[in-house]
């Protein structure tokens, strides 16, 4: 009887989920449609003097490293600059800004000082036509962005600066929330009603004294008889017990050997840093960040100034609707860095990463010996790091694992004068055999434990 009610509950549950899913997808597609609308708007703009297409190429090649249209980078945002300054002024500035500043023009000096006197290099290679093209590009693109910013603003939301996605999201999520709540309430009511129905039916059954036939009644005698019979069979019992002992024992034994082995350890890190993106997609060399691996025993987790080499400019705004990526923002807040003014505050907080590869203190390991002297790839121990979204411990880091490698790996003595004496000695006695780290004493206790 209970089966009825539980089965029913399961059904209700799945229906609820399904409904929620449908509501969700529906609202999402609605949101996409709305976005598509907004992007289409504002494509028609007044033509400038130059050719915006030619200007695009020039802008990307020469200006984009320091300027963005809607955001401050090294230099100021360029949106609307054609309205703010005269054409003549802009030509003078772009072709040779230091000379222009030297003339003492007020606006030029002001902007030079505002940006910490980091001057813009002169571009003597630009013809006037080139500059016009660039300005045309800035104008067209700038107008596009301005229009895009205006459109949703009409919808009633107060956000201004590039907050296109954000406003849309807000509207939809409200709608979704109301729908969900309604669905839940309805589902709850249905469940309540049905529960009552079940209760009434059960009561009816009891009143009428209908006893369901007990199917299991006659079976147990036979069943227990076979079990008892088997239990009396000493050979079988012995066999069973020894099998259990062996299985448990071997599992236990294997487990004991793996005590403290943390292979596969993948803790959650304070920043969702992806090696797949950095080392895989972007092909950044491991030692660019882990520079210690070349010269020290520690590979070193890079300090934040190394992150800032790129992330001062790379802010992944395109993926977060114009906002700085929240993960990159974590770097900024750790350094107390303001991306708008590009200034560092005085309240930095270090980032506490969770250490993944924990060698015991009694074992000495030196990265430079392996990376620089032996020329071993990082992947040999750290696994396919360039495909890891989150890093995990790839190797067991047991002593057996170290020793196996030392026994198998040939010493990288070619071109290293240090090994001259050793190789001469070994060539005499081990003709044709490979000289492994173990042969040179690489598996002696004191080489790693002291």
């Amino acid at each position: 009887m209970r089966n009825f009610s539980s089965d029913f509950r399961k059904l209700v549950k799945s229906i609820t989920l399904l409904m929620a899913f449908i509501a969700g997808t529906a609202s999402f597609s609605f949101a996409q449609a709305a976005q598509a609308d907004s992007t289409q708007a504002g494509s028609s703009t007044s033509a400038a003097i130059g050719d915006p297409k030619a200007g695009d190429a020039l802008f990307q090649a020469n200006c984009a490293s320091c300027h963005k249209l809607n955001q401050r980078l090294v230099g100021p945002p360029l949106m609307g600059v054609t309205e703010k300054r005269s054409n003549e002024w802009l030509h003078k500035w772009i072709s040779n800004s230091p000379a222009f500043i030297a003339t003492g023009e007020k606006d030029a000096v002001a902007i030079y000082n505002e940006y910490n006197q980091a001057g813009m290099p002169p571009f003597p290679q630009f013809s006037d036509a080139d500059i016009d093209n660039i300005l045309a590009y800035i104008k067209t693109e700038g107008d596009k962005l301005a229009a895009a910013a205006k459109q949703p603003a009409a919808g009633g939301s107060a956000t201004t600066d590039g907050g296109v996605g954000a406003t849309e999201d807000g509207g939809i999520s409200d709608f979704m929330l109301v729908g969900l709540v309604a669905v839940v309430i309805i589902a709850f009511l249905v469940i309540l009603v049905l529960n009552r129905v079940i209760g009434t039916l059960e009561r009816l059954l009891i009143k009428k004294d209908i006893i369901l036939p007990d199917e299991e009644g006659s079976e147990p005698r036979d069943k227990f008889a076979t079990v008892k019979k088997l239990a009396r069979n000493k050979k079988f019992v012995f066999f069973l017990v020894s099998m259990i002992t062996i299985t448990m024992g071997s599992f236990g034994w294997m487990d004991l050997w793996n005590t403290g082995v943390q292979q596969g350890y993948q803790p959650v890190q304070p920043i969702k840093f992806s090696h797949e993106l950095h080392a895989g997609t972007n092909q950044i060399q491991c030692q660019y960040c882990h520079s210690g691996a070349w010269k020290s025993k520690n590979a070193t987790i890079p300090s934040l100034n190394i992150c800032m080499n790129c992330h001062k400019y790379v802010q992944a705004t395109e993926k977060y609707g114009g906002k700085i990526s929240p993960e990159i923002q974590k770097i900024y807040s750790a350094l107390d860095y303001d991306s708008q003014t590009q200034k560092y505050g005085d309240q930095p907080k270090p980032i506490e990463w969770v250490r993944i590869h924990n060698l015991p203190d009694l074992a000495y390991f030196n990265h430079s010996q392996h990376v620089k002297v032996a020329g071993i790839e990082c992947q040999k121990c750290h696994g396919p790091i360039e495909t890891m979204k989150e890093v995990y411990q790839y190797s067991p880091l047991t002593m057996k694992w170290c020793i196996n490698c030392h026994k198998e790996t040939q010493v990288n003595y070619k071109g290293n004068a240090y090994y001259d004496n050793l190789v001469a000695y070994h060539d005499k006695i081990k003709k044709g055999e490979k000289v492994t780290a173990a042969v040179l004493g690489g598996i002696e206790c004191g080489k790693c434990h002291y």
Partner: protein
């Protein structure tokens, strides 16, 4: 073996006391304290079976539970913005300066962990003594102040500064003196700061006073030559050195510098040229220098004066002081002999005296002047500025204080309430001073009496400079930000006197650029890199003595006469603890005295035969007493001590040093007397038994070598005939049969050579080893139980020098009826010998100690299960067992049980756990680092790439380390020396450490 001499380590061994024999039967002095532990928990019966099973069950359960644990979360916090020069895992070295000698400070990730000598230093030439080595621990001392105090209450620096300025202004207005009491200040910048302070407060008076005073020498030089300076001595230029109780290798003026000089005429290179200086030593107590002397004559304190006067008369043929008589025939005849030798060595002779008496030093000056030492072995033109304290100035100030003329006193590196002989008077007089301030880094004996304590930063946290020798300027560079809320004393002085520059870095730099840098034509960065600037030295000219010998002689003789009553007390500086400034340093407290091998205490050193006559025996607690002062100290039998005298070390008995140094030993400073214008380190006292008994924590008789001759020596005369004399080599080598095959040593074969003739036994290597290898300090009780952990020890062997007697048989030692005065000493550093056929390796049941293909004996701590078989089987007794987690056990709260002091640990060396063996690893972390450096630079290893800690610090260069497979290495050359022998060679364990025989230059005596 050539030598038939009988060597012994302690009197117990000579006399074969039953306790000694009993103790030496066992490898470890005491059985395991299992019973003791169980009694503590209330179970008196032996462990029952059920308890055992319970423990087993719990153990298995606990282990299985422990096995379930997930990975511990270990945080890894990188730099926010990494300083360019710091790479985690790689040490940085910075030049700095310790007591005038240039040093290199090793830092790891921004924290100093080791101090090493700067090899280019003109004073110490790369050597460092125990105190400098231990100084890095003072940086992290938790007994130091965490911030400024005003009347015992924590204050902010701003409030403190305001208070100090107000008070100083009041004193200035009242017209009273503002006194700055300091130990010697030779820093040009500090001097300039004090001058600036004085320009703001014109009533300022700067008084320098040192606990160990050399004002006698300075005053005597003023009287003799018109130059009030501490001269520079050149022991390397002297063929004959005569010392009257000047412990110049251990504690006198500049011991590291003098050791370098002294050894240069007695080391391998010098012996090869058949040249060796001769050193004759007159003294009462057995000092380190006395133990190295070629001839040591035990001289009573009351006879030192007459002996000196007699020497003058003998040399010059005059008869000042009416030809005083010398009671001791030995001293009298020695003086005659010494005079002859000195005359033969005219122009290359040097006489020094450890006395602080002006008259005594005047006679020494007269003798040196007669011998033509000035301009050759003594340099008055480039004087030393290491000590400039004036006893008389302080005495005058004390009188002013008493009469209420002093309104303010500031203490800079000075602690007169503890280390001044008139401490009591001084403390009373201080009550009359209205404003008192101390710059001590802790609330020491003087700071407790002061209103303001403005804690000074450690020298490793400070900017500064020093000028130890004329024309030699060293820079003090900070290597870490102040650990506690401390501030440099100079900054305090600048702030209190409202100077325009308060940043001391800017001040020092400006001062250098104004003075030294302009003269030398160098830049600031050059100094930071080199660590020092040496201006050209002036030519040392000769001086003619212009003092009054007759007056000096009568003064000396009357002082000597006054000593000739009761028992004569010789007050000296111990080599490790020194004046007591670093009293809270556990490394120094546990460094054994070079001769007596006592740790953690001072004691009454007395000749055993003389003690017998007084009815005193070893370890009796006696009261040392004169009219003014009395202390209770245990007695130590010291062979070689002059009869009628006792010796007591200074630097102990501190009450406000910190938790390590408080109440260790007794303070002997109050026994000093002020006489004839200077403090005298001698007195007369009486002894009385208290009935108490206190066993001193000695390492002396530990690890006995069962009467086997392991040190070998010869005389210079024999050496000249046959360089191999005494080394046990007779030209032909034995045929040896080995049970084991030879190890392949394809790369390097690390070995060591130790020159017993160079080693002075100073103990710097012990501290250097401890700091490098995280060797724990175990404390007094554990040393008594023979559980000291030092990886390197210096064995000290006595032999008798009874004329005409050669002691050949063990039995004969018992019947020695001599005075126990005429003994000589050999020091032998002993550490793991890294035997090629090591007996320890074959008995280890778990293969925790195995051989490497580089000739080293490895020790894997985590494999060790603590059977201690290896220690039992080691013929050299160099293995140490960790009875406890000394670095993390509240019962051994010596220093490491806090987060500050643990910062001193070397991160490249494991801290060993309870229950494992450890021993010298030949600094394997340095070997590995040196090899890696060569690999990274793709080059063959050079000799000198790897220096072990003991070798690096050794002031005598007695230890040479290197690769025996390289025939051109220093060590290979040293080991092919004829003097080389191996300890217990006959066992054929093929040790990797070779020793070179000690050579004694018996000089004229043999003729």
């Amino acid at each position: 073996m050539d030598s038939k001499k009988k060597y012994w380590k302690g009197l117990e061994e000579v006399q074969k006391t039953p306790e000694f024999i009993e103790k030496n039967k066992n490898e470890f002095a005491e059985p395991l304290p299992i019973e003791e532990l169980l009694e503590g928990t209330g179970i008196n019966a032996p462990t029952p079976r059920r308890d055992f099973l319970k423990a087993m069950g719990f153990g298995i359960g606990a282990v299985s539970l422990a096995a379930c644990n997930v990975a511990p979360v270990v945080k890894s916090v990188p730099y926010l913005i990494k300083p360019e020069e710091v790479t985690p895992g790689i040490p940085n070295y910075y030049t700095s300066s310790y007591k005038g000698g240039s040093i290199l400070v090793k830092t790891r990730e921004g924290r100093p962990i080791k101090v090493e000598g700067n090899p280019n230093c003109l004073v110490n030439q790369g050597g460092l003594n125990a105190q400098a080595q231990a100084s890095v621990l003072d940086l992290y001392d938790i007994s130091k102040l965490k911030g400024p105090l005003y009347k015992g209450v924590e204050y902010s620096w701003e409030d403190l500064d305001q208070q100090a300025k107000d008070d100083l202004a009041k004193v200035q207005a009242s017209g009273k003196t503002i006194a700055i009491i300091s130990s010697t200040v030779n820093s040009p910048s500090t001097k300039s700061v004090i001058a600036d302070f004085a320009s703001k407060y014109p009533a300022t008076k700067h008084v320098m006073v040192d606990p160990i005073s050399y004002s006698g020498i300075i005053k005597a030089n003023e009287a003799s030559f018109g130059k009030a300076v501490l001269p520079q001595y050149h022991f390397e230029k002297a063929n004959v050195i005569v010392s009257f109780a000047a412990d110049f290798l251990g504690s006198w003026i500049s011991p590291v510098q003098f050791t370098k000089q002294y050894v240069s005429t007695r080391n391998m290179a010098s012996l090869k040229e058949k040249k060796m200086s001769r050193h004759i030593h007159f003294e009462a107590g057995m000092s380190l220098t006395g133990s190295k002397a070629d001839s040591r004559i035990a001289t009573k304190l009351s006879e030192e004066g007459p002996a000196l006067v007699a020497l003058y008369n003998e040399l010059t043929g005059s008869s000042i002081g009416n030809n005083p008589t010398i009671e001791s025939k030995a001293v009298a005849s020695a003086i005659k002999l010494v005079a002859k030798e000195l005359l033969n060595a005219k122009g290359a002779a040097l006489v020094v005296s450890g006395s602080n008496d002006i008259a005594t030093q005047t006679i020494v000056n007269a003798i040196n002047s007669y011998l033509g030492s000035y301009g050759t072995t003594i340099d008055l033109d480039n004087p030393s500025h290491q000590f400039a304290g004036s006893d008389a100035d302080f005495d005058a100030l004390l009188a002013d204080m008493k009469s209420g003329k002093v309104g303010a006193v500031l203490f800079l590196n000075s602690n007169p309430a503890y280390n001044h002989p008139k401490a009591k008077e001084f403390v009373d007089a201080l009550k009359k001073v209205t404003f008192t301030a101390s710059f001590a880094d802790r609330v020491d004996e003087t700071a407790t009496l002061c209103q303001i304590v403005a804690p000074n930063s450690n020298y490793l946290e400070s900017w500064g400079d020093e000028n130890a020798i004329d024309g030699y300027y060293t820079i003090v560079q900070p290597t870490i930000n102040p650990i506690y809320n401390t501030r440099q004393a100079e900054v305090s002085l600048l702030t209190w006197s409202d100077q325009p520059i308060k940043d001391y870095y800017a001040y020092v730099r400006a001062n250098w650029e104004k003075t030294v840098l302009t003269v030398a034509g160098k830049k600031w960065d050059d100094v930071l890199q080199a660590g020092f600037i040496a201006l050209p030295t002036k030519a040392a000219s000769s001086y003619n003595f212009a003092g009054n010998v007759n007056d000096a002689a009568s003064s000396v003789l009357s002082l000597s006469k006054s000593l000739n009553k009761d028992i004569q007390l010789h007050i000296y500086q111990s080599v490790a603890v020194g004046s007591g400034d670093q009293g809270n340093n556990p490394y120094l407290q546990e460094t054994p005295d070079p001769v007596s091998k006592v740790t953690w205490d001072n004691y009454v050193a007395i000749n055993p035969k003389y003690a017998n006559t007084l009815g005193i025996s070893q370890f009796d607690v006696v009261t040392v007493k004169n009219n003014n002062y009395a202390i209770d100290l245990p007695v130590l039998y010291q062979p070689g001590q002059a009869h009628g005298t006792i010796s007591v070390a200074l630097g102990y008995g501190r009450t406000n040093a910190g938790k390590v140094g408080d109440m260790v030993g007794q303070n002997a400073y109050p026994f000093l007397t002020f006489a004839n214008g200077a403090y005298q380190y001698v007195n007369t006292i009486t002894l009385a038994k208290t009935g108490g008994y206190e066993e001193l924590a000695q390492t002396q008789t530990h690890h006995s070598l069962e009467g086997r001759n392991i040190v070998r020596e010869t005389t210079f005369a024999e050496y000249k005939k046959d360089p191999a004399h005494g080394s046990g080599h007779h030209g032909k080598k034995h045929e040896n049969v080995d049970l084991w095959g030879k190890y392949d040593q394809p790369g390097q074969n690390w070995v060591m050579a130790i020159d017993l003739n160079a080693c002075t036994g100073c103990g710097a290597c012990i501290v250097a080893c401890s700091t490098e290898n995280n060797v724990p300090v175990v404390g007094k009780d554990e040393v008594r139980r023979r559980r000291e952990m030092h990886w390197i020890r210096i064995d000290r062997y006595y032999t008798f020098n009874e004329e005409g007697k050669e002691i050949t048989e063990e039995e004969e030692l018992k019947h020695i009826d001599g005075k126990f005065e005429n003994v000589s000493v050999i020091h032998q550093p002993m550490m793991c010998q890294h035997c090629d056929h090591a007996p320890c390796e074959t008995v280890c049941p778990v293969l925790a100690t195995v051989h490497s293909n580089e000739g080293l004996n490895h020790m894997a701590y985590n494999r060790c299960v603590g059977t201690r078989y290896c220690a039992n089987n080691c013929p050299y007794k160099v293995r140490r067992f960790n009875w406890f987690n000394y670095w993390n056990d509240s019962r051994f709260d010596n220093y490491l049980n806090n987060e500050f002091t643990q910062l001193v640990l070397n991160p490249d060396v494991t801290t060993r756990f309870r229950g494992v063996m450890e021993k010298c690893s030949m600094c394997i972390q340095r070997i590995q680092a040196g090899k890696l450096q060569a690999k990274l630079e793709k080059r063959v290893m050079k000799d000198g790439d790897v220096k072990v800690a003991c070798q690096q610090t050794c002031p005598a260069n007695a230890i040479i380390f290197g690769d025996a497979n390289d025939p051109n290495s220093e060590v290979s050359k040293a080991l092919t020396n004829e003097r080389t022998f191996y300890v217990l060679e006959e066992l054929n364990v093929l040790p990797g450490v070779g020793y070179m025989t000690k050579v004694t230059n018996t000089g004229l005596q043999e003729a």
